[in-house]
Each structure stands twice: as C-alpha cells, then as structure tokens.
C-alpha cells in the first residue's frame, strides 16, 4: 500500500478542477498554480524513485494501492511495476516541460487550456498506473475527449474539422475497446487485469480471437497504424504546438504502453502466436512505417510532415516490440523514449519558428532559420537526431532497433529502419535549406502578411518558449552521449514485460 501512486493521479485531477476557482480569485495566480501542480507531480515521482531505490536496483520494485481498501479480484487497485514506472517518469517529464512551454505560448483562453491539459495529465497517469481494465477504458475516453477539445482549440474551420475527424475515429475506437471489456466481463466475470490474465487461456479460441481482434483494432486506431492513419497528420497540423507535442510525445506513447500491457500481460503473446496474428501485425506495422515515410516525402507542410514521420516511427517501434525478443524490447523502449523527446522538441521548436509565418506551408518556411538562428540550430540538431546522427539519442535507439531486427532475422524490418533514415534525410534537408533562404519582402507580400493573419498567437513570453526548445535539445545531446543511463530502467521494464507470472502473483497476492 503506497498512497503516493494514488496522488500521482489525484494531484493533476485536483489541479484541473481547482483552476476555474483560482480564476475567480485572480487570473494571474493561475500560472503559479499550474506550476505548483506540475511541481508537486514531479516531487511525487522523484520521491517514489528515491524511496524505492534499493528495490529498483534489486529488480523487485512493485507498489500497489487498493482503492477503498478492497482486495484485487473484487476491488479496483493501482499497481506500479518497472514498466509503469518508466512510462510514468518519461510522461511526467515530458508533460512538465510542455506545461512550462504552454505558460509562454498560450496567450488566450488559458483557463480552459490548463483544465484540459491537466485532465490529460491525470488520465495518462491513470492509464499507466491502473491494474483494472475498465479503468483503462475510462481513462482512454478521458484522453480522447480532452485531446479532441484541445485539437479544436484554435476554433478555425480546419481545426474544428480535424477535431471532429479525430473524435469520430477515437470514439469509435473507444467503443470497440468498451465492447472488448464487456466481452471479457461477461465471459470471465472479472475486470482485474491479473485475474483476466490468469483465466484467459481457459476461454474458447473463437472468443479469444474476437476479443483480441477488437482490442487490436481499437488500439491500432488510437496509435495511427496503417489502415487508420488518416486522422493523425491533420490533427497534428491544426492543433497548437504544445498540444501537438503532447499528442505525439505523450499520447501515442501511452497507447503503446496500453498495447504492451494488454497484449503481453492481459491476453498474452502466446495467444497472438497461436492465432497467427503476430506475423500479420509485424508486417502491417512495417508497412505503416514505410507509408509514413513515403507520405512525409510529399508533404508541403512542416507540421504534417512531422506527423507522417511520427507514423513512420511508431510503426517501427510497434514492429520491433512485436518481435518479442529481449533485444526488441530494449530497442523499442529506448526508441519510445528518444522519439518522445525528439518529436515533442521538434513540435515545440516549430511553435517558435512558425510564430510569424503566414501558414505552416513549405513556401512560408523561407528565411525562418535566418530570423531565429539559435532556435533553428536546435531544430536542426533535433532533425539530425530523427535521422540518426551518431552523437545524438536518435542514433543510439535506432542502432538498437536495427540490431534487434538483424538479430531475429527480420530483414524487411532492418530495411525499413535504414529506408526511414534515408528518406528522412531527403525530406528534412529540404526544409533546412529552405529555412536558410533569404527573403526578399515586397510590398504586396507585406500587405498579405498583415491582412491574412490576426496576430493572435504572437508569443507571450518568448524566452520561456525558446528555453524549452534548448532544454529538449540538451536532453537529446546529453542522453545521446549517455544513453547507457537508461540501461537499468530498460532492463527493469523488460523484466516486468516478460515476467507475467510475477505481476499476477504480486497484484493478486500482495
């Protein structure tokens, strides 16, 4: 019993609900209150790590909290093992950086923004920590609705269209997920993940297939793997930059966590193997990665391009995890971490660079690098990391992914990794070159610039915004040199993915 993990969810939730009341007192206090909330969250995480450092080192780290004091098969419990801890830490770090960025960036309707943002924080923490499958469904819906509202935050026509498309897809996915939860409940009479995992093999294979198929479809829609990638670039493009950073940096990784939890812990990978679905999924993910990179080549919009490259990377991560080898998990989890920081950093930098441009289009990218030289250099470093240049974090993770593919003899996968890097060189270099082109402003251009743009989102606090960009670049550089730092947490989480019996025993018996 450790109440801290309950507070990990409660603190952002309480912050979200208290923000409107703070607004009633004084709107300027809001910013400090937001900071207080996120700092409290970070303190909780750090104290969890510090207090349990010995057990972390020994590899028997496990925390649990029974809500209302009810024991697991009946009551709802929160559980934190190595995998959850890793995801909780990186999610919290990413959200921490982005909330500081938002303080500088979001200049209007701040109250609503922070409420939605903290609901996302609470929900992603909840997804990562809960040990109950219905709870996961609830938190997923929370994520969907809040992020849908944030995508339409600009209230332009495109933003609303993108938000509606996003909501249609994701609520359908949520519906399918709910159907799966219902089927599990009617067949097994339990919702606790450990309990389901114990009894899942006793089901008929038809029901097993149906449940797996439903969960698979739901989660693939959420992640944006090939047949369902259509909502992703559009919503990445129209959302404000910090929201895009959250969508790409945090939400897609949280869905990857759900995928790992459900298909390794709850349903079990052997089920997928006996149903022959693993080969299908592996190749589908690689195809999706291929398509993502190819689509990125034709994109004339930098944020859409980054969205397509996200599809490419998430497909690659999914594929390398589907290999179900230790090296595969190692590379996959490391790439999850590095992609989280690189992509969030890129969107954050985009938010700064595109502040005065007419649109996100390629032709308007002209001269951006000359105007904001230092941020553009940070942007280039992040892009190089996406490509996989040696001293940066992207190289280390791509190397492990490549090695995992080669080790298990999946040459299509190895090809996709190298293909992704090569196409990335092509589509990023184009933008870098454009960024350094001189702009010759004519009178007509100037007029169009002034009249086409209601200078709404002129940055509120420029220093904070550029600082966060540098912080991301520093993370990429620093951990690129010291990627061995992740060795212990990665081994720990791989251990908790593979040892399903230990998880069941601890959740039910402890």
């Amino acid at each position: 019993m450790d109440i801290k993990i309950l507070f990990l969810i409660l603190v952002p939730l309480a912050t979200a609900f208290l923000i409107p009341f703070i607004d009633l007192i004084n709107a300027k206090l809001r910013r400090f209150f937001v900071l207080l909330g996120i700092l409290l969250e970070s303190y909780l995480i750090i104290s969890i790590i510090v207090n349990n450092f010995q057990s972390l080192k020994k590899g028997d780290f496990f925390l649990q909290y029974y809500l209302g004091g009810w024991q697991p098969p009946i009551g709802i419990s929160l559980a934190m093992d190595g995998l959850s801890l890793l995801f909780a830490v990186i999610t919290a770090l990413s959200l921490f950086l982005i909330v500081i960025y938002s303080i500088g960036y979001i200049g209007h309707h701040e109250g609503k923004y922070y409420v939605l943002y903290f609901l996302i924080t609470a929900a992603s923490m909840g997804v990562v920590l809960t040990a109950d499958i219905f709870n996961i469904y609830v938190f997923i819906e929370m994520l969907t609705i809040t992020s849908g509202a944030l995508i339409g935050f600009k209230r332009s026509q495109e933003a609303s269209a993108a938000a509606i498309k996003y909501l249609i897809y994701n609520i359908l996915a949520g519906l399918l997920f709910f159907l799966g939860v219902l089927l599990i409940y009617f067949n097994l009479g339990t919702l606790n993940m450990a309990d389901i995992s114990q009894n899942f093999a006793s089901l008929e294979s038809g029901i097993q297939l149906f449940i797996s198929a439903i969960f698979l479809t739901a989660i693939l829609i959420k992640m944006g793997i090939f047949p369902f990638l259509f909502w992703l670039p559009k919503s990445y493009d129209t959302a404000p930059s910090p929201v895009t950073a959250v969508l790409s940096g945090v939400l897609s990784k949280v869905y990857l966590y759900i995928f790992i939890r459900i298909f390794w812990t709850v349903i079990g990978f052997e089920t997928l193997v006996t149903l022959n679905l693993d080969i299908l999924l592996l190749n589908l993910a690689l195809l999706s990665s291929f398509l993502g990179h190819v689509f990125a080549l034709q994109s004339n919009n930098i944020k859409r391009l980054l969205g397509y490259s996200s599809i490419g990377h998430i497909g690659m991560i999914l594929a390398v995890i589907m290999l179900n080898t230790e090296a595969g998990f190692y590379g996959g989890l490391l790439h999850i971490i590095s992609h989280m920081f690189m992509k969030a950093g890129l969107f954050v930098a985009c938010g700064y660079l595109l502040q005065y441009t007419r649109s996100h289009a390629y032709r308007d990218f002209k001269g951006v690098g000359i105007r904001n030289r230092s941020v553009f250099i940070a942007f280039i470093l992040l892009l190089l990391s996406m490509i996989g240049m040696p001293p940066l974090l992207g190289f280390a993770s791509k190397w492990y992914v490549l090695m995992a593919f080669l080790e298990s003899g999946s040459f299509f996968g190895a090809f996709i990794v190298i293909f992704g890097s090569l196409t990335a060189v092509i589509y990023y270099l184009r933008y870098i070159a454009k960024g350094f082109e001189e702009v010759k402003l004519t009178e007509a251009d100037l007029k169009e610039e002034i009249f086409s743009r209601p200078l709404l989102s002129v940055l509120y606090r420029e220093k904070i915004v550029s600082f966060i960009t540098y912080a991301y670049t520093a993370i990429i550089l620093g951990f690129g040199l010291g990627f061995r730092f992740f060795d212990l947490p990665l081994r720990m989480s791989i251990d908790s993915i593979i040892n399903v019996e230990r998880y069941i025993e601890l959740v039910l018996g402890g």
Partner: protein, 513 residues
C-alpha cells in the same frame, strides 16, 4: 558513460604499421596548419578548431579496432573537412556532404554486414564478398575507380591547405583501413584491377589538364591507384610498398598543394601556361615543386622511387610485368614532367636569373610559416628517399633490401630523354584549359545523355537540380501513393470493418499461404 570511455581507450591498437601512419598523419596536418596561417584570413579560430577535431579523429580512425568508434571518427573527419570547404564556397560544402554521406551509407552497411558475420573487431577479413562490400564502401571516400568522379572538382576548388589535407591524408584513410582488412598473404584481385584502371585513366587525364590543381587532383587518383594495386597484390613487400607509398605520396602531395596555393596567389591563375619566371620569383617554392614532382615521377633518391620499387618487386617477375610497370612509370613521369616543363623550361630566360633573384628577393614578402611547411615536406621526401627504413621499426627490414638504384637511374634517364623528346616536338602537349569542371556539369552531362537517348540535348538548371528533378520525381511518386491511399472520409472509415473482418478470418487466410 564510463564503460564507453573504457571501451574507447581499450580499442586502440598500437601494432603493425599503424602508429607510424598516425605519426605521418600528424606531421602532414601540422604542415597544412602552418601553411594555412597566411592563407586563411577570415574566421581563423574556427579553421583551427576544425583542424584539431580533424586531427584527433584521424588518429582514432587509424588506430582503433572497434567498428563503432571507427565509423564515428570517420564521420567526424568527414564533417570537419566538409566545413573546411566553406572557406571556398558553400556550394562545395553541400556537394561534398551529400557525396561523402552516400559513401558512408555503403560503408555502414558493409560494417554492419561484417559485424553480423562475426568480425566483431576490425581485423583481417577472409571472406571475399565481404571484402568486396567494404572496398565498395570506402570507394566513394577514397576515390576508387568510377567513384573518383567527385575528387577532381572538389579537390581543385577547395582552398589550398584544405586540398592538401584532403588529397594528402583524408583519401588515404580508406587505404589504411584496407591495410587492416585485406589479408597480407592473398591480396584481392578486384582491388588490383581497380588500381590498374585508376593509374592509367587518371594518369591520362592528368596529362591532358592545363589547370595545375586539377592536374594535381587527377595525379592523386593516379597515385592512389598504385596503393590500391599494392594492397591488391598481397605479400609482405607489397604491403610495405603500400605503406611507404602512402607516406611518400602524402608528403609529396601536401607539399604540392601548399605550393599550388602559393603559385595561385603569385600569378592570380591556376593555368600552368601562365607561370613565367617561376624559379626566380619563388626559388624555395620552385625547389619544393620540383622535388615533389620528382617524387611523384619516381626519380631515384626520392621517396616515390622506393615505394614504387617495392610495389614493382612484389609482382610476379616476368617480361610483361616489367613492360607494364615501365609504361606506368613513364605515364607518371610524363604528367609530372610536363608541369615542370611548362613552369621552368618552356619560354624561360635564365640569362638574368641571379639579377632577377636579387631584385625579387627584396620585392616579395616571404612568409615564415609557409617556408617551414615546404621545408618539412622536402625533408620528408628526401629522408624516405635515402633511408626508407628510417620511419619506423616495422620497416627496418628494408635496410637490407636492394633497391637496384642503378636500374632506377637508367630508367629515369630513359624517361627523361623520351619525355624531353615528346615535349619539344609536341610543344609540351598544350591543351586548352577545361572550363566548368564541376559536379553540376557532370550531372548536366549525365542527364543530357539520358535525355539524348530520345531527343536533343536540353539545358537543365543544374543549380536547382535537386529541387526540380530529383526531388520532384520522389515528390510526385509519393504524392501518387498518398492520393491512392487517402480516399474520402467514408472510405477511410470503411477500413475499420474491413480490418476487423480480415482479423477474424485471418486463420482461414493464413492457411492458404
């Protein structure tokens, strides 16, 4: 972090020829650094910072036996030399970057393959296909035949000290790598043939060029051919010859490129027909040029003679070998001698030489740093020319080796007479200087060839060729695929039931395969 650092330190190998080669690399870099002191005038600090990065990473490339650090350091060499080109033109930086990194990708692939086949450390590789892959990998970086197309434009356009670095040492790194991986007993026939082709083709091109720096760049390719041929031959003396030739050519070419920078500043031109009164204007530079060209042409008592003799002696002896190597030597002698002929013999008046010298001595400014650099180069050539066993313990067995100096002297005299005859009768092979020797021009020619298969030649905008042709092809192809996949919203949503159906019927579908 600590682990990587320890791995890094443990990966150094101080065995065989490589410490010697590393020392030579350091000396050559210091020479170019000296010469650059007066040549590079803007942003001097950054130039020297890049030089330091370059120096450290070449040391790692030469000495390490770990694939990762090797590749990493080589990329650092590429990056630092790439940015050195910026002192001439940013266009060169772009072109060099693209070419070098496309070369690296092949090398990376080769290294990964070698790693996967169990060669976890850089060492002798027995499998011939793997050797082939790695030779292809270094091909682009070290200018092997057919991959050398970028070398003359880039090396001739670069600032003189940077050309000296590139031509003198960076291209050699590939051959040093080959020294590590090609087994000494067997060699590699493919490499031998490539080397032969390089010597002949690039030698012919060097003979045909009027521009000093282009001629030097082609002669670099030609001399690299000797190294490739030596490594391809296999055998102890061939490898010694390769090592010695790397050193000899390094000294000679570094000196030549440094002096080419001096000539260029002196005459405001790079065409060799314009150089008049060279000897009296710049006596020391003239001496350095003559000595280095003598080394390239394998005149006795220079470094080049010893290395080429070693390479020759390692071949299977016979009439054909003797004839072929005699002709190869003649080719080198011709292109080296032609430049000397234009610089110091043709239309020169030496009657008032000493008066001119005296006048010019007071007239011209002499930079100490450049003089030092040239003297170092000359010293290197002479020392290795007289005592080939001097550079290190590893080559000490060369002290007993008979270099047949008299035969060498005979050959040199025959070459001299023959080439003098040719030059006087063909007015020194005066050929119009080729304009626009650049990679864009090559691209233009290539595209015109492709286009000309069907119709007349077309003028391409090569400056924007990436944007207009290459990128558009990729762009349009991916756009087609994108539009094919992105149908309207109903069709997009239709994927969900289709996907579910496929999953549910997957058992049946799977059983068909």
């Amino acid at each position: 972090m600590a682990v990587i650092w320890q791995q890094f330190l443990a990966s150094f190998q101080f065995e065989s020829f490589f410490p010697l080669l590393a020392e030579v690399g350091v000396i050559l870099t210091l020479m170019t650094a000296l010469a650059a002191w007066n040549y590079i005038r803007e942003n001097k600090f950054w130039y020297y910072a890049l030089t330091v990065v370059y120096l450290l990473s070449t040391l790692v490339v030469v000495l390490t036996n770990d694939w990762f650090f090797f590749l990493f350091a080589w990329e650092m060499v590429t990056l630092s030399t790439t940015f050195m080109l910026a002192w001439s033109d940013w266009k060169l930086v772009r072109q060099y970057f693209v070419i070098q990194f496309s070369g690296s990708s092949i090398l990376l692939f080769g290294a990964l393959a070698a790693n996967a086949f169990g060669y976890t450390e850089i060492g002798v590789i027995d499998s011939v296909p793997l050797q082939f892959l790695l030779i292809m990998g270094i091909g682009m970086k070290s200018g092997l035949f057919l991959f050398h197309f970028w070398l003359p434009p880039i090396h001739s356009e670069a600032p003189a000290p940077v050309s000296a670095i590139l031509s003198g040492w960076v291209v050699k790194l590939g051959y040093i790598f080959l020294l590590k991986i090609i087994p000494m007993e067997t060699g590699n026939t493919f490499l031998f043939l490539l080397g032969l082709a390089m010597i002949i083709y690039a030698g012919w091109q060097a003979l045909r060029s009027a521009d000093l720096k282009i001629m030097l760049a082609y002669s670099t390719v030609s001399q690299l051919g000797f190294i490739a041929l030596a490594i391809g031959t296999g055998g102890q003396y061939a490898f010694y010859g390769a090592v010695l030739h790397i050193i000899a050519h390094g000294f000679a070419k570094t000196t030549l490129f440094i002096s080419s920078g001096i000539w260029q500043r002196e005459y405001g031109s790079r065409i060799i027909y314009d150089f008049k009164d060279a000897a009296s204007r710049r006596p020391l530079t003239s001496a350095a040029t003559i000595l280095s060209f003598a080394s390239l042409a394998a005149v006795v008592f220079t470094a080049g003679y010893n290395s080429k003799y070693l390479i020759k002696s390692a071949q299977t002896s016979g009439l054909l070998t003797a004839a072929v190597f005699f002709l190869l030597g003649l080719l080198s002698f011709l292109y080296a001698g032609r430049v000397l002929y234009w610089l110091f013999v043709k239309d020169q008046d030496y009657s008032t030489f000493f008066a001119d010298l005296k006048q010019n001595y007071n007239h011209y400014q002499i930079y100490t740093q450049e003089v030092l650099a040239l003297l170092t180069g000359m010293l290197g050539i002479i020392i290795i020319g007289f005592w080939p066993e001097m550079p290190g313990v590893i080559l000490s067995s060369l002290a007993e080796k008979d270099f047949h100096l008299l035969t060498g002297l005979r050959d040199t005299l025959i070459y001299l007479g023959f080439s003098a005859y040719l030059f006087y009768n063909h007015s020194g092979f005066k050929i119009e200087a080729r304009r626009n020797l650049s990679l864009e021009n090559y691209l233009q020619l290539f595209l015109n060839f492709l286009y000309g298969l069907s119709r007349k030649s077309v003028k391409f905008d090569t400056e924007k060729i990436f944007e207009t042709f290459f990128y558009n092809a990729i762009f349009n192809a991916s756009k087609k695929l994108h539009d094919f996949v992105y149908q309207d919203f109903t069709v997009q949503l239709l994927w969900i039931p289709i996907f579910m159906t496929v999953l549910l019927l997957w058992q049946q579908i799977f059983s068909y395969f």
